[in-house]
């Protein structure tokens, strides 16, 4: 579904991404690991359109998406979360979920004013889905709290919920379990696994925890200093000498 060919990204003279090629098939959960500063988030930023690339090509569902702005890429079905969860301070959890809803009527002044009944209907449908998802993520009791007041872990869950409201075909998750307590972590992973089974999505996940990677990922890519140094199943990666060296020396 997602094909990245020879991607390059420079910051001044620093090569953040150097000839990186990645393949994420439909219906798979693929992991991305590497020491700090190896370019993982940069890769996500380029693929999702927040950074401009300096070389290479990116294909999603067969069509090229490099060069497109982030919102267009999201609309095509490729969505992402952020390493530091973004939580609009003055919007409630439910508002956040509804914000992300896939088909909304009333997102522009004209329909907001003149198609009130259709707006209400679409809001109701989206509200049901939002409540369902919040239930699954065990955030229901916080539904009317300000997103800014949530704990770090809860914000991560909310990010996940938001992204699922979009019904994307593929989700880039940037460290979904970082800073999350172990119980919540298990919850998160269950949610990811469930959703992947239910809705047949592809996931590309940046993670630091090998436990998470080995338990849910089908394939793993390893980056170091902007270059891909290994790819394979979690077992293969864990045996790979280069990978071990990178983590021992780099981190």
């Amino acid at each position: 579904m997602l094909t990245i060919k020879n991607l390059e990204k420079r910051f001044g003279s620093l090569k953040a991404l150097d000839d990186v090629s990645v393949e994420v098939e439909d219906d798979c959960i693929v992991g991305l690991i590497g020491p700090n500063g190896s370019g993982k988030t940069t890769l996500f930023n380029v693929v999702s359109g927040f950074y401009e690339k300096d070389g290479g090509e990116i294909f999603f569902k067969g069509a090229r998406i490099d060069g497109l702005p982030p919102n267009k890429i999201a609309k095509k079905g490729l969505c992402r979360t952020f390493q530091v969860s973004k939580a609009p301070e003055k919007m409630t959890v439910l508002e956040n979920m509804l914000l992300a809803a896939e088909h909304q009527i009333g997102e522009d002044p004209f329909s907001a004013l003149f198609m009130r009944s259709r707006v209400q209907k679409s809001e109701k449908t989206n509200l049901e889905r939002a409540l369902e998802l919040l239930d699954m993520l065990q955030l229901s009791q916080l539904k009317n709290d300000y997103a800014g007041d949530l704990s770090g872990g809860q914000k991560k869950l909310l990010s996940l919920g938001r992204v699922f409201m979009l019904k994307p075909d593929m989700i880039l998750l940037d460290e979904p379990t970082a800073g999350v307590n172990p119980t919540l972590r298990v919850q998160l992973m269950e949610a990811i696994r469930q959703l992947q089974k239910m809705e047949r999505k592809a996931f590309f996940i940046i993670e630091h925890s090998m436990k998470v990677i080995s338990s849910i990922c089908d394939k793993v890519y390893v980056l170091n200093f902007g270059q891909k140094i290994a790819e394979g199943t979690p077992e293969e990666i864990q045996q790979n000498e280069q990978v071990l060296e990178a983590y021992l020396s780099g981190a």
């Binding site: 914000l99 009527i105 979009l166």
Partner: protein, 299 residues
């Protein structure tokens, strides 16, 4: 009775400014667009409607609509740079645009009669309303506009559109990652805000019946800012309250001038200084303003 007339005048001016405050609030409090050139909408609205009626004999209703449309278009123009400019740079650019609009009004005398301004703006429906009742009629007209605009803007902010705007204000990158075309949303917000500002300008011109570039100096924008800072951003009741507070303050100090041994220039200076201090104090100690933003609760 002069006191009654004065109160009606005060309320009418408060009314006109509350429209401007609501428009500014829509930009700043809901969308996070820091507009230091708000007075431009006021100016374009006032001049367009009055010039069309005085010079071209256009019916008042059409003139009002044209003024609102033109202000809306200017809102669109102002929104274009938001694509490439960060908020503080854009704010500076809006300050500059506000002044450019005023300078055009001042210099293009062939169109606007320059420093002499537009005179003899007729009273709307003059023949239908008895002379004594006219001020009350106009006040009611302004109040009707306020109610309409309040409802109109509230419908917008309570809709998915409004939700998108709030999200842009708080976390624009998140919006992009959720597929929202933030540029278009800002554009739409600015057009709406411009339209409301244009209405206020038209109401103003047809109330005081004479306008000149002097009415549209940058200080007006700052008064509107004081209104939303004091009244409370993120809600329209706050904008109206802010307009009441600031205008009351403004006008009452004009009267105090009769009892305090300060010249009129000094009174004006003291007044504006206090407004500046109010802005600072509120931002330091009560940034949400007098009326806080309400939380949206779902059942």
């Amino acid at each position: 009775m002069p006191i009654i007339n004065f109160i009606i005048y005060l309320l009418t001016m408060i009314g006109i400014y509350s429209l401007l405050a609501m428009s500014l609030n829509f930009q700043v409090g809901f969308t996070g667009l820091i507009n230091f050139g708000q007075v431009a909408f006021f100016c374009i609205g006032a001049y367009t409607s009055s010039l069309l009626v005085v010079n071209a004999g256009v019916p008042v209703v059409v003139a009002f609509l044209a003024a609102m449309a033109l202000s809306g278009i200017f809102g669109y123009i102002m929104s274009i740079p938001t694509k490439s400019l960060k908020s503080d740079y854009w704010a500076i650019a809006t300050l500059a645009s506000g002044e450019i609009v005023r300078l055009v009004a001042l210099n293009e005398a062939w169109l606007t009669a320059g420093p002499f301004g537009v005179m003899g703006i007729p009273q709307i429906l003059k023949d239908l309303i008895p002379k004594d009742a006219y001020p009350v009629f106009y006040l009611l007209f302004v109040i009707a506009c306020i109610i309409m605009v309040y409802i109109f803007l509230s419908m917008l902010t309570n809709s998915p559109f409004g939700r998108n705007l709030k999200a842009i204000r708080d976390e624009e990158e998140l919006c992009l990652s959720l597929g929202k075309d933030t540029q278009q949303l800002k554009l739409q917000a600015m057009i709406v805000a411009g339209t409301v500002g244009g209405l206020a300008g038209s109401l103003f011109a047809f109330y005081i019946q004479f306008i000149s570039p002097e009415n549209f100096k940058p200080i007006e924008t700052f008064l509107m800012w004081a209104m939303i800072i004091v009244g409370g951003r993120g809600n329209f009741k706050g904008a109206i309250i802010g307009a009441v507070v600031i205008q009351l303050f403004n006008v009452s100090t004009r009267f105090l001038g009769n009892y305090v041994p300060l010249g009129s220039d000094s009174m004006a200076a003291l007044r504006m200084m206090i407004i500046g201090v109010l802005i600072i104090l509120f931002l330091l100690y009560r940034p949400e303003g007098l009326i806080k933003e309400k939380k949206k609760i779902y059942d």
